[in-house]
């Protein structure tokens, strides 16, 4: 995708401001600083070189040292007044500050002191630059999961060690897995550990509040082919799974929000019908049982009948309890 003009403009202005403060800078160093390729930096320099004040004669233009340029070094000789670094927009500052706070929160006490200090000092400098608005967004993500699990996960992430997890899935099946942790991901409803599962030989998301125990192993994590972005599709069951429709009354609205549904159809009187794909029947039966009083219809109906039978068994088990 082509870069948007405003984003490139911000970098062009940033490069001039940076070069105002640094005498001669190798192209490679500029590329690292601004997070783009060396080729992009050369294109940016070419663009700057032909820009300037109206008239656009040689003396009107931004200028660089041509000899240095031939050696792969950028030296600014005329900035045409663009000497100052551009201020942060409030939203820009808030987005970065909230992210930094979350970073500190999620990695918590697991960071070595000198790294934690860098995060804190960065946060301080940025908060000062943004001012009053910096508190508008408050990110507090590390709420899921047992404290000992959180601590182990954080420590493994920071130190790059393999983890042994005891994990219970949505179908209430517990298993042990060795994983190489990648990062923590906060979705709309839960915090997940994104990790390479050695048993599945694939990337998996583990819901933090379903991790029963986590032990940091001696082994260091190995490199794995991991996609850069955890896509939203990882939260959804595969498309080949069975299609199920459930009609619910308005009170069970949260289902449409919290369950990955394919479609929601609004019906009269606030009723609604969700369509979803289910790879795991146990999970679906859990869901139906949770909202039983608000269930109007289930297709296929067998799922509802299974739930009714399970409930009968549970009622019988309650009946068999000795009186309290």
């Amino acid at each position: 995708m082509a870069e948007r003009a405003p984003d490139r403009l911000v970098r062009l202005l940033g490069i001039v401001a940076f070069l105002n403060r640094h005498e001669s800078v190798p192209v490679a160093e500029l590329a690292t600083t601004f997070g783009v390729s060396a080729r992009q930096i050369l294109e940016d320099v070419d663009t700057l070189w032909v820009s300037g004040t109206p008239g656009y004669q040689h003396s009107d233009l931004i200028d660089f040292d041509a000899e240095a340029h031939d050696r792969g070094v950028v030296r600014l000789t005329e900035s045409r007044g663009l000497t100052r670094p551009l201020r942060l927009g409030t939203r820009e500052g808030v987005a970065l500050i909230a992210a930094l706070r979350a970073l500190r929160d999620l990695l918590g006490s697991a960071l070595p002191i000198e790294q934690a200090e860098v995060v804190d000092s960065t946060l301080e400098a940025l908060t000062a630059a943004v001012g009053d608005a910096s508190g508008a967004v408050d990110v507090h993500l590390a709420t899921d999961g047992r404290p000992d699990v959180q601590a182990a996960v954080q420590s493994a992430l920071v130190s790059g060690h393999r983890l042994r997890l005891e994990y219970v899935n949505a179908a209430d099946v517990t298993s042990g897995r060795d994983v190489d942790p990648i990062r923590l991901v906060t979705g709309d409803a839960h915090t997940y550990l994104q990790a390479w599962c050695l048993r599945a030989r694939d990337e998996r998301l583990f819901r933090l509040d379903r991790v029963l125990s986590a032990d940091v192993l001696e082994e260091l994590v190995e490199p794995h082919p991991v996609p850069a972005e955890p896509g939203s599709e990882v939260f959804r069951p595969e498309a080949s799974a069975e299609q199920v429709h459930i009609t619910l009354s308005a009170r069970a609205r949260w289902v449409a929000e919290q369950v990955p549904v394919d479609a929601v159809q609004e019906l009269p009187d606030g009723d609604f019908r969700i369509s979803l794909r289910v790879a795991d029947g146990t999970w679906l039966r859990h869901l139906i049982a949770q909202v039983a009083a608000d269930v109007r219809a289930v297709e296929p109906v067998q799922y509802a009948l299974d739930v009714a039978e399970t409930a009968e068994r549970a009622l019988a088990a309650y009946g068999a309890l000795p009186p309290a």
Partner: protein, 347 residues
């Protein structure tokens, strides 16, 4: 519309021209002399192009001032105010720059990701050298912000301006328009919340962003309210979830209900007579005794009824009653087999 000068270069030349102009530049001067604008086919095309560019620059934080000149009547001119332009004087170390590079990749949402990455580019200009991400040796965590409502709410918070939005209450499913003075956006308990003052109820409330049924729209004037100094957003969100924490006492079949076991807390020291009685009941039916914290009875009962006979509630009574009610309702689902399900026809 064919232009010989790409938009980035036109914007750059406009900034340079407006920074360097001794007093101001009128639109006519800009059209005549700034590279890229001469390509506009007509006055109207130029006006559209210039308005768009002005908005784009202001969006980036470049303050374009309007200067009217008394000697020239209504004639409007423009310039860039260098003092307002500049970042407050900070200097980042390479390590700090590395941390910011990580933080900039935190947001998965497109618009926030762009804001953060633009901020990083601006801050790169005041770095003493390229940062090393090794400084925090871990891949950045990621988060998604609360959907389309997030940015309008953020803007309203910054302007201290009230918002209205449709909101569907979780408990009743009822949808109603709310007018709220927005104070903070908070990510907590697995979701995004707006914390603010509900004007109709005249009290502080937390609103879950996913339950908003229409995009928040700003209403009334800016700087219309202040945020309480003693604001405790977490407490508001907790009360949104049903108040104080309680302990469910459960008799759980061995090796079942792992997710509940993960949240269980150890028994408190010095078990009272009630604890001993619960322990005895669980043991008599060959089950483990678990204590699991919860806040909202409704939510907890929904979850527990999903476990069927794997997890039985011994206390508190309120929770046990709620679960038994749900099990009764679930047992009633057997009637769906006899009736033709409503909405089942595909016609």
């Amino acid at each position: 519309m064919p232009t010989t000068i790409p938009p980035t270069e036109r914007l750059l030349d406009l900034v340079i021209a407006l920074v360097n102009t001794p007093n101001r530049m009128t639109k006519a001067q800009i059209r005549r002399s700034v590279a890229g604008y001469d390509a506009a086919a007509s006055v109207e095309a130029f006006e559209r192009m210039f308005e768009r560019d002005k908005d784009a620059l202001r969006e980036l934080g470049i303050p374009i001032e309007t200067v009217t000149d008394a000697a020239h009547g209504d004639d409007v001119g423009y310039r860039v105010d260098l003092d307002a332009y500049a970042l407050s004087p900070i200097e980042l170390t390479p390590a700090q720059h590395g941390v910011l590079s990580l933080a900039a990749r935190f947001w998965q949402d497109h618009s926030l990701a762009r804001d953060a990455s633009r901020a990083l580019t601006k801050l790169s200009a005041v770095t003493s050298g390229p940062g090393s991400e090794e400084s925090v040796a871990v891949l950045a965590p990621r988060a998604r912000a609360g959907g389309d409502a997030f940015l309008p709410l953020l803007d309203a918070i910054q302007h201290a301006q009230a918002v209205t939005f449709g909101y569907r209450a979780a408990s009743t499913g009822e949808e109603r328009v709310r007018t709220v003075e927005p104070w903070r956006l908070v990510a907590s308990r697995g979701g995004w919340y707006l914390v603010g003052r509900d004007r109709d109820r005249a009290e502080a409330r937390a609103f879950r962003l996913t339950r908003m049924t229409s995009a928040p729209a700003a209403v009334g004037s800016r700087r219309a309210f202040g945020v309480p100094a003693d604001l405790d957003p977490r407490a508001l969100i907790d009360s949104h979830h049903g108040g104080a924490e309680q302990l469910a006492v459960l008799a759980v079949r061995p090796e079942r209900a792992g997710a509940l076991r993960a949240r269980a807390v150890p028994p408190t020291d010095g078990a009272g007579p009630e604890d001993l009685r619960f322990a005895a009941i669980a043991e008599s039916v060959g089950r483990d005794l678990l204590r699991v914290p919860y806040r909202a009875v409704t939510r907890m009962a929904e979850e527990l009824s999903g476990y069927g006979d794997a997890a039985l509630v011994l206390g508190p009574t309120e929770l046990r009653t709620a679960v038994l009610q749900r099990l009764g309702a679930a047992a009633g689902l057997s009637s769906l087999a006899e009736e033709p399900a409503s909405g089942a026809s595909d016609g």
